[in-house]
């Protein structure tokens, strides 16, 4: 409280305060041609109001926040009228504090406290070193980032940057809801009853250190992380009389060593990212995840194409939800074309090397006037049930969204 009062005092003491804000209201409807084993719904509509104010009381201080109010037709959003500031529940909160941070900078020093977004890495579709960026995976392939609670200290000098992050409170990724199509259950499991015993969230803080160099023609960084994976493993036990499967989400310890680089070549920019995931948790695999991608802009086209791979160093066969590893051993691509100043079309694809899973997405965006934007898209998912992408083969969908920005 004293710190907050002091910050407010500092803020009020300065006369040249500036305030800015931005936000939008968006409605989004997703249409699924097929039903799923555990979900007969074919249409999901959502509404989201987001407001992002920022206040600069003096040249050194910035207060930034982001507030969400949302609802939907598919109970991915809580019906409870409460205000959430933690983003740790299974459903999306109806009213939430998405970001609230205070930043101080002086010279090359930049310090930010509070709930904030931290993005590490250079690649576009998969980021193995992006360890402070949990996501909302309720609809696995259309996901959004969640902020983390903590402190970030960055010192930048002459193209070298040291970035230290500590998060005392763990934020997990939001995983698909058990009674919905993005938690695909095999048909054989229809007789089982799954009982959610909740999540065992880690209590200890997480730390990360990144050194990056941005000067010169190429960029690179090295990363160390000690904490927990934001994607869960499932611990389950079968209770025979009722064929109940009781499961708990646990978040394995993670120590990660990684790096990324961006090297401009005559025709392309080569971007690469790799990380070695080690863990003391006895049920967690240890593995190396890497991405190599080429990027090029030609006229109105932007092309990104690459490959993501995985090498398991210690296999323990965990049961978990791992979209990052699910996109490994796959060819990834993205292309976007600007049709006019107000219209773009984009294509994204992930094709597993084995051919067992394919995800293709196309999206057309049209802006109207200063404030309106509409998006129409279609996502095709195909594959075999045993594959990470293939298991969502009944979840191909069309998307319509309208956004009013202010």
């Amino acid at each position: 409280m004293r710190i907050a009062a002091w910050l407010i005092f500092v803020a009020c003491a300065h006369a040249q305060a500036t305030f800015t804000h931005r936000g939008f209201f968006e409605t989004r409807t997703t249409l699924y041609p097929q039903t799923a084993v555990n979900d007969s719904g074919r249409a999901v509509s959502e509404g989201l109001l987001r407001w992002e104010p920022a206040w600069q009381p003096s040249s050194n201080w910035v207060f930034a926040a982001s507030l969400d109010a949302r609802t939907d037709t598919h109970r991915q959003v809580e019906r409870e009228a409460r205000f959430d500031w933690q983003d740790r529940r299974l459903q999306r909160p109806a009213f939430s504090l998405r970001r609230a941070s205070v930043a101080y900078h002086r010279g090359g020093l930049h310090v930010e406290f509070g709930k904030q977004f931290i993005r590490w890495g250079k690649a576009d579709i998969l980021n193995p070193v992006d360890r402070f960026a949990p996501r909302d995976f309720l609809a696995v392939v259309d996901n959004d980032f969640l902020a983390v609670m903590g402190a970030r200290v960055t010192y930048e000098r002459g193209g070298n940057t040291v970035d230290f992050v500590a998060t005392p409170r763990f934020t997990p990724s939001r995983v698909p809801l058990l009674n919905q199509r993005w938690a695909p259950l095999p048909e054989e499991a229809a007789q089982l009853r799954f009982v959610d015993m909740g999540s065992r969230l880690p209590g200890r803080a997480q730390f990360g250190l990144r050194f990056s160099r941005n000067a010169g023609p190429y960029e690179y960084s090295v990363v160390f992380f000690d904490g927990f994976h934001y994607l869960p493993l499932f611990e389950g036990k079968l209770s025979l009389p009722g064929f109940d499967v009781e499961f708990t989400r646990v978040y394995p310890g993670l120590r990660l060593y990684g790096g990324d680089a961006a090297v401009p070549l005559p025709w392309f920019t080569l971007k690469t990212e790799a990380a070695w995931f080690t863990s003391r948790t006895k049920t967690a695999d240890e593995y190396v995840l890497y991405v190599i991608q080429l990027e090029r802009t030609v006229g109105e086209w932007i092309f990104v194409g690459g490959y993501s791979g995985e090498a398991v160093t210690t296999r323990r066969n965990p049961v978990g939800f791992a979209p990052d590893r699910g996109l490994a051993d796959a060819f990834l691509g993205r292309a976007s074309y600007t049709l006019s100043p107000t219209r773009t079309i984009a294509f994204e694809a992930a094709v597993r090397q084995s051919g067992d899973g394919t995800w293709l997405k196309t999206e057309y965006t049209h802006t109207f006037g200063r404030n309106w934007r509409s998006v129409a898209g279609f996502t095709l998912i195909r594959g075999v049930p045993a594959d990470f992408l293939g298991q969502y083969r009944r979840n191909s969908h069309a998307l319509l969204a309208i956004r009013y920005s202010f």
Partner: protein, 235 residues
Amino acid sequence: MAQDPRQIIEEVQRRNRSQSQRYEGTLTVTSAKSRVAEKRWRFERIGSFGDSKSVLRFIDPPEVKGVALLIHNHKDRSSDQWMWTPELQRDRRIALQDRSTRFFGTDFSFEDLEERDVDQFDFKLLGEEKLEGEDCWKLESRPRQTKTSQYTHSYVWVRKDLFLFMMVEGYKGGELMRRIAYRDYQNVKGLWTAKTMEVFDNKRNSRTTMKLEKLDYNLPMKDGDFTLQALRRPL
């Protein structure tokens, strides 16, 4: 003195030298099919020719508000550029081979937004011409080896009385790529500045007109506001 093309450009730069600059630009983009889009950005620069740093941040329309470009200009080579997209919370370095693409739906390419320092080009005086009633020198500039450019050469018209750029045409081989015309010169704090710039993209047949407002020079600015960390700030 004025017959030496390099000295002409040096004099243009000397007369335009300032420690910092700030303006708000309103950009009207008109496509070949007469579709019009309007954008607005705030531009801040610290330092002067050869070693300046600038940040350009969109302030309107709301859809792109917060998108920012950081440019570190160098005396001996092409600039370094990074773009910040608030929706992704990521910065992305703009590779040299991608600098010929248009900047965020405007007719400026990324390269057009960097500084054209005298040391990065070789100049040739082609003659004298009248442009919009003003006596001008017409010069040809060719990028030196250390400078990566989409243009094989450019023609530059410099107003003789005030040493001001009137027009720049960028060519690739024999083909005109872009034409930038400078208009509405006004004296702000002793510096003559074009308050209207019109960029014509010959390939797309589209044009962007930028009008400068709230223009000011030699304001106190900090080096720390022109870093990658500063780019992340919402203000």
